[in-house]
């Protein structure tokens, strides 16, 4: 199998990640922050190690400002539903994933004023329009790296606009974390992340990280329950991180996420980016050489998320994906990639695109096999 769907979930995982998950299940086992036995403390230690690793990775000074959730969708929902209510205004962009669009649609039905600021055909946010539209917005939520085109937004510029208007800035780093730098030094107030894509952990992990100066009391908790703390209270704790962490944590998953981040740190993000650019660049250029092809990506030289989305003139994207899978055992994704708004923005609605997303372990040989397969289909 040639796996080119790393934008969905990264695979394979580093051996160290598999070992960390297995070790937790085999040898630790207990429930973090529940009880005082050695295993429970060791489990809590893994979770705290993971908080520290995540905080450090995103440039957050306080590990207790890291909240773990089931995935990035749950993290984004926590921030959006926890912060917004009828009469509030929120601004976003037309390049968002359904993880943002759907909760915003739900909130709009409840009386929240939702504004989608325009992006150009490469997916870049029109900053002038954004600056005009942001007036009165309580919250801005923006996709950092597109899962459709790999376009990377200018976080610093957006942060500056948000600060000037007193708007909280939530950055969706689902597709960027682990590939390009995502850091509070660039200005966001909240970063939503997933553990199982670029951070190389396993599904079932993700979360929110809050800037050191952000007041988390602005966000209501969506779920309440056991936390292993202040158990005598009927009311859910309001302190961090328990405020947003009801119920048993995903200990094995967080052990894997910790290991994934350690693996990334050992390689260095710059090296990872160079490696991904090499394989994704070759893949994009190779497809662009095929007659009738269009690759939807930022101009060469701009930051890019290593996502190769393309169409072939006169071909159904479902048919291309079916051929690649059936005839060549190539894993890819076709259609809208849960981001139909982004496809409307770049002009690929309703047909969508075929998306090939190389990962950290994708080889030059994998890319040549994939290119050969796409060429064969086009002929």
């Amino acid at each position: 199998m040639i796996y080119l769907d790393n934008a969905s979930t990264s695979w394979p995982k580093p051996d160290s990640v598999v070992e960390a998950v297995t070790d937790y299940i085999r040898n630790i086992g207990a429930n973090p922050a529940r009880g005082n036995c050695t295993a429970a403390l060791e489990a809590l230690g893994v979770v705290l190690d993971c908080r520290e690793a995540v905080a450090s990775f995103f440039g957050c000074g306080n590990p207790l400002n890291v909240v773990f959730t089931h995935n990035v969708t749950w993290a984004i929902n926590t921030a959006l539903h926890g912060m917004l209510q009828s009469g509030d205004r929120v601004i976003s962009s037309t390049m968002e994933h359904n993880a943002v669009i759907r909760p915003l649609t739900n909130l709009a039905e409840k009386g929240v004023d939702v504004v989608y600021s325009p992006c150009d055909s490469q997916g870049y946010l029109d900053l002038e329009a954004f600056e005009k539209n942001i007036s009165g917005a309580k919250l801005a939520v923006l996709n950092h790296g597109s899962n459709v085109t790999g376009t990377v937004q200018d976080v610093r510029a957006v942060s500056d606009i948000c600060r000037a208007s007193g708007t909280v800035f939530l950055l969706d780093a689902a597709q960027s974390a682990g590939i390009i730098p995502v850091n509070f030094s660039h200005g966001p107030d909240i970063i939503a992340f997933t553990g199982h894509k670029g951070l190389l952990g396993v599904p079932g992990t993700g979360g929110l990280v809050f800037a050191d100066d952000f007041d988390t009391n602005q966000i209501r908790s969506l779920a309440q329950g056991g936390t292993g703390s202040v158990s005598e209270e009927m009311k859910h704790p309001d302190f961090m991180p328990d405020r947003f962490e009801a119920g048993t944590m995903n200990g094995p998953g967080l052990a894997g996420l910790l290991s994934g981040i350690e693996y990334l740190n050992s390689l260095g993000l710059e090296e990872i980016y160079k490696k991904k650019m090499k394989v994704a660049g070759r893949l994009a250029e190779g497809i662009e050489e095929i007659n009738g092809s269009i690759v939807y990506r930022p101009s060469p030289g701009k930051l890019w998320n290593a996502v190769v989305s393309f169409t072939l003139k006169g071909s159904d994207t479902a048919s291309i994906a079916d051929y690649l899978s059936r005839e060549h055992d190539i894993c890819c994704r076709h259609g809208f990639h849960c981001a139909s708004s982004a496809h409307r923005t770049i002009g690929t609605f309703p047909g969508g695109t075929v998306r090939l997303s190389p990962g950290i372990f994708t080889t030059a040989e994998d890319i040549e096999i994939a290119l050969r397969a796409v060429r064969m289909y086009s002929e």
Binding site: G45, L64, T227, G228, S231, E232, P237
Partner: protein, 85 residues
Amino acid sequence: MSNHIYMIYKSMTHVLAAERAARKGGVSCRMVPIPRNLSTDCGMCISVKEEESSVFLSVVEEKGLVPEKVEEHKDAVPAGRCYSN
């Protein structure tokens, strides 16, 4: 025998984070279950020798990990285990 001071926190996460900060700061301490007469919480707290308690408090304060309550414990070394990484 020294008296010990119990440093009581809001959650186990805070306890472990404070214990790590103290150890890094060279303060010896141990995590012990919170005596029920001090708190009905089911978790743990940190026991520090009285003579080291002011250093402990200054080290953890730097990390924003000030205990919710500080209680004197007049017994000898309390039951409990050291947690190490």
